[in-house]
């Protein structure tokens, strides 16, 4: 087992003119685990990763890898492997030449480029110019670039975009094996379902703010707490929800209360003398939790254990 560096993001903020892309973001990414970095489009994932990689200068706060900013790492290309949105290729260069161009700077022999192209399934296409690669092939090449220096920290921005189902399954396996080797793995996505079976921890952001950070198991616990309530007087039920500061909305069969046990809802309704005709614990998909979390930016959900 290697002891890989921890990623620590502290009060990280980035303004692009009037736009606050990342807002006072704090989280850590532990070695030996896969951390999913989730948020809808434009929520600030890429910007956060770019700050972590020394490409974008934070307005305030810090993003450290093993206690140091990326730019102060001794041989960053050999410690951290990163693939940001897969468009950073010269179309006229072959896949092999793309890797060979960076191999000296990262400090690895050319044989490593051939190995990785084989590994990501591009050996047949490696002499072809990248301009003719498909989206999935570019993703694979970006991944090969990230792994060139055999890094112990792996940072991937939406790596599953454009991959076929086999590719996604293969990537999932790969990331799991990195974590098993003790590496630090951070993967962003705008779809929770995509990384649901891969990650150990989740950090969810929306509009640049952290709205949730926990283990996946704790997030799953949130998922099961959705109680469907109905009765003859729906107005009283919703008032009950408001009085108890429950998150609620109107479902197609009455009122849906979030993050509260059905037993508590039942007890409170009983105490308030509200007649109920329906009180059901509803299982929800994790994706619904994610959607709900990210659509309520102004109501942060806090959980005890933070990733």
């Amino acid at each position: 087992m290697v002891t890989s560096p921890t990623i620590e993001v502290t009060s990280l903020t980035k303004d692009f003119g009037p736009v606050r892309a990342v807002d006072d973001l704090t989280f850590t990414v532990q070695p030996g685990r896969v951390t999913g970095f989730l948020g809808p489009n434009g929520s600030g994932k890429t910007t956060t990763l770019r700050m972590l990689l020394g490409l974008v200068r934070p307005t305030s706060g810090s993003a450290l890898i093993g206690g140091k900013p990326y730019v102060e790492l001794d041989r960053p290309g050999a410690v951290v492997g990163a693939a940001l949105e897969a468009s950073s290729f010269h179309p006229g260069r072959s896949g092999l030449d793309h890797l060979r161009a960076y191999a000296p700077h990262i400090g690895v022999p050319d044989s490593r480029a051939h190995e990785l192209l084989e590994f990501v399934g591009l050996s047949d296409a490696k002499e072809r110019r990248v301009g003719g690669y498909s989206m999935g092939m570019r993703q694979r090449l970006a991944l090969a670039y990230a792994l060139l220096g055999d890094p112990s920290v792996i940072i991937l921005d939406e790596p599953a975009n454009g991959l076929d189902p086999q590719g996604i399954a293969w990537l999932r396996q790969l990331l799991r094996s990195f974590a098993a080797q003790g590496k630090t793995v951070l993967v962003s996505s705008h779809v929770l379902g995509e990384v649901q079976h891969t990650v150990d921890d989740v950090v969810v952001i929306a509009r640049g703010k952290k709205i949730h950070a926990s283990t996946l198991a704790e997030l799953s616990a949130l998922a099961s707490k959705r109680v469907s309530v109905d009765g003859p007087d729906r107005a009283r039920i919703s008032r009950l929800a408001i009085d108890n500061q429950w998150q609620w909305d109107t479902g197609n069969r009455g009122i849906v209360v979030h993050d509260v046990d059905a037993s508590i809802v039942g007890a409170k309704a009983f105490a308030a003398g509200i007649e109920l005709h329906r009180l059901v614990d509803e299982e929800v998909a994790l994706e619904d939790v994610f959607l709900r979390l990210t659509s309520q930016v102004d109501a942060p959900v806090s959980l005890g254990g933070q990733a």
Binding site: L55, V56, S87, P104, H105
Partner: protein, 265 residues
């Protein structure tokens, strides 16, 4: 740094641009070389009243290498930076090694070598195309003459400087189209016209010789474009090289402290 330089070499030589530009340069210089050598050997006496012949003619024609050719090292140099921004390879480049000063310096080192290569190609194209006509139709090619050898040495040096100039300029104007437009406009219109306009009045003549193209001509030691008009003071070789170096240093510093301080993404 050595590793960074090696990566830079591979970046440049793994795309087609370097040899496409080299071929265009060969064609252009050879065309001018053939045209000029035939024209001057056959009609030169009528055109210049016998003032330009023999060795002077050889040096004059070989000297076209700078004013005609310098756009090419500028272009290839500028591409070292602009293609990184155009294709966003600047991201993996700065991930491989995060030191932005090293990135700039290794590009300058690579450009010096590429400039020398372009210089050799340009000399071969220019002399190869014009020397036979000077020999057959005129008074000789004067290739054994020390003045011609100084011109060749000056040409190689100036191509090295132009390519570095291109890197620094491309690092400041990172938009590829904008950089190409600026280089073409400067080399083909602005400088020649400015050189003429500033070169005629006594008061501004001193300024004209500090324009990049004029400094480049000084390095080569042949003021071909001003030939025959008797105007335009020229710097010495060393002064010309110093002026070009000054431009390179200024643009490179601007690149480091403007472009390379910006956010990448």
């Amino acid at each position: 740094m050595i590793a960074a330089i090696k990566s830079e070499f591979r970046k440049l030589f793994s795309t087609r641009m370097w040899w496409i530009l080299a071929i265009v340069m060969i064609g252009y210089l050879a065309f001018v070389g053939i045209l000029m050598s035939i024209m001057f050997t056959l009609l030169g006496d009528e055109m210049t009243g016998g003032a330009v012949q023999g060795k002077t003619l050889a040096v004059t024609i070989y000297g076209f290498i700078n004013p005609i050719g310098y756009v090419f090292p500028l272009l290839i140099g500028s591409l070292l930076f602009t293609s990184e921004f155009r294709h966003q390879t600047i991201t993996p480049s700065l991930l491989s090694g995060a030191n932005r000063t090293h990135l700039l310096l290794s590009k300058l080192v690579v450009s010096a070598v590429v400039g020398l290569l372009y210089g050799v190609i340009a000399v071969l194209a220019m002399i190869g195309s014009s020397a036979p006509f000077l020999q057959i139709l005129g008074d000789g090619h004067y290739l054994g003459d020390s003045e011609v050898w100084k011109l060749i040495a000056g040409s190689l040096l100036v191509f090295v400087l132009w390519t570095m100039f291109g890197v620094a300029l491309g690092g400041l104007i990172v938009n590829q189209v904008a950089a190409i437009v600026v280089i073409l406009a400067m080399t083909q219109f602005v400088e020649p016209i400015l050189g003429l306009v500033l070169g005629i009045p006594e008061a501004t003549r001193g300024v004209a010789q500090f324009l990049p193209a004029a400094a480049g001509n000084a390095v080569v030691g042949s003021n071909s474009l001003a030939m025959g008009t008797g105007m335009g003071d020229m710097l010495t070789r060393t002064e010309g090289a110093a002026v070009l170096m000054a431009y390179i240093v200024i643009f490179a510093l601007l690149c480091r402290f403007i472009t390379l301080r910006r956010d990448i993404g």
